[in-house]
């Protein structure tokens, strides 16, 4: 997967490049809108991350030119501006997501993965991780052959973790996806919910599937895989 980052702030660009490269992407960085446009026109990218405030051609103009030339790669805007009009303008021009600085790296990663996956995978009815098996149609969870009863919200939480397995999901993303809490709410609740879920699917078993990545969030993966 090849990504293009257009960001004039050198440090931000470098750290994003490092982080995304380590997450397994091939990453190019452009520091001005002109360079970015040149890169985007001459190579093929699976996704473009665009800062809005850029010297020369700004992010909005760049996206407009890209879309006019028939480039349909998904675009995520990064911006320190959080006025509703800016967001609306971004989406109107055909952006796929809009992140406001400061954002957490795990949030960006989760959104990149979600965009890249979009429309590609057929959601499986049944997923297994190690000896954990989840049947989404029957809403049934078993581990090592034992039936585990989950509440509706616990099931939604597990579904989110397992559908995006191996991805680090920040607490704010979990709160918004599972409970529709789209503002900075108490993340205590997410911690409690994860603890509850662990007590049911991890605690009785030797292999722990839900990992806490401190400072970033939670991920579900098979440690032996």
């Amino acid at each position: 997967m090849r990504l293009l980052i257009v960001e004039d702030e050198v440090k931000t660009g470098a750290y994003l490049q490092q982080g995304l490269s380590e997450a397994g992407f091939i990453v190019d960085v452009a520091t001005t809108g002109e360079y970015g446009l040149h890169h985007a026109m001459t190579s093929v990218y699976d996704l473009i991350i665009l800062d809005i405030m850029l010297p020369g051609v700004n992010g909005f103009e760049m996206l407009e030119k890209l879309r006019k030339n028939g480039h349909s790669s998904p675009v995520i805007f990064l911006s320190a501006k959080d006025r509703v009009e800016d967001r609306v303008q971004g989406f109107e021009l055909g952006a796929d997501d809009y992140l406001i600085k400061p954002f957490s790296f795990s949030e960006l990663l989760a959104r990149i993965r979600a965009l890249l996956r979009r429309g590609r995978t057929i959601e499986a009815h049944q997923v297994s991780v190690a000896d954990l098996n989840v049947d989404f149609l029957k809403r049934r969870v078993t581990r090592a052959g034992h039936r585990i009863d989950l509440t509706a919200k616990e099931f939604s939480l597990l579904e989110l973790l397992i559908r995006r397995q191996s991805e680090v999901l920040p607490k704010s993303l979990i709160a918004s996806q599972v409970w529709d809490m789209n503002f900075d709410s108490d993340t205590n609740v997410v911690e409690v919910a994860i603890r509850r879920l662990r007590s049911k699917i991890d605690d009785p078993f030797e292999i722990k599937l839900i990992k806490t990545i401190r400072g970033m969030g939670y991920a579900l993966e098979d440690p032996q895989a």
């Binding site: 919200k153 900075d184 709410s185 993340t187 205590n188 409690v192 919910a193 400072g215 970033m216």
Partner: protein, 452 residues
Amino acid sequence: MRFWRRSLTFRLVCLFVLVSTTLLISLGLLTLSTTNNHFLELDEVYLYDKELLVQEIAQNASSSKEVVKKIRNALSSQPDLSFAILDNSKTLYNSPGFEFPTHLMSQPEVNTGVVMQWLVGTQTMRAISTPVKGLTVVLAVNTLHHDHFMTSFRELIWVYVAIAIVLSGVLGWWVTRRGLKPLIPIIAKASHINAAQLNDRIPTKDVPAELEPLARTLNQMLERLEHDFARLSGFSSDLAHEIRTPINNMLIQSQVTLSKKRSIEQYEEALLSIVEELERLAITVSEMLYLAKTENHLEVPNQSSVVLESEALELLTFYELWAEEKCVTLTVASGGTVTGDRLMIRRAISNLLSNAIRHADAHTHIAIEIVNTAQATTLSVSNVGETIPLPIQSRLFDRFFRSDQARTYPGFEGAGLGLAITKAIMQAHGGTIAVSSVKGHTVFTLSFSKTV
């Protein structure tokens, strides 16, 4: 055109001149026409007087010859008077230099006593004719002398009018300047007011009655500006303070960590603590922005119908896990619908609920109660816990106010903006927020007015 728009003096002087010009010109025209009419009357009276004389003379005469002779004798000595005696269209006698135009003989005015008028060269003649013993006597005056007078009088009047117009312009300018003088202290005062002395006010005492509303309005504007300015500067200093502390923490921690070689675990620990600090900072900044936007009405609430109990119930599903862990039960009682922004109202309730859970004693009950009255729909969240002392109650809704001044709570404790945001949201909806705390029973009440 721009000058016209800009200068009040110019406008007023123009209007003044326009008014005085109209008045002076009409006055001049009136005077001229009155004088002219007066002369006409004088001529008429003079002619009728002479007509009487002619008739009297004619009565004592026996023949027309005698009539002619007597009239000639009587009228020849009259200055300014010309006359002709006609027999049908035949002229029997003419004053020297006078000739009655023969075409006037057929006019209807002849022998009726109506004044006739005609021009001889540049001179105007006025005449009446009267029948005397089968003859027609024409009596005429030359208007030359009052034409002369009228000409010079007309000139004089127009010169006066012109001078008066110019004078009215000058006077108008002077009057305007004087009239606008009371504005000068207002301007002087206003020009001295800047951010550093917003408490200054424009004096309303010595200002003319018409300008008093202006001065008062300006003062009210200053009042609002001062208030907003104070809020804004308070906001920036709060923000600076709130940001300074975590920055300081991170700076010291990073420098101490870097001061000698450490184990990987120690580096990890340091980075994690910085991440936590930064996350707190990020939330503080975004909450500050949200608060500022809400307080300054940049975030205008959508006006939709919000069912309070369903919002509360949805929030319960979010908070109930945490509440269970703290051995606290949650309930929602009754219901009501208000008009407002769903997300904002949800945020307001969420803030109250999370505070209630945080401060509730174990094995107690948190009740959300929605009450409909004629004036308002209220939503109250009550919990059992420590009583909030009265002096603290009034400060609860201040920015960055925390009941525990040091950050003693482990993990995430918010920026101390929750209640300030809730209050701002309520104000944006034209509602209020209130608190009461008695004997360990604390109730926060959101009240949505129905009259808005």
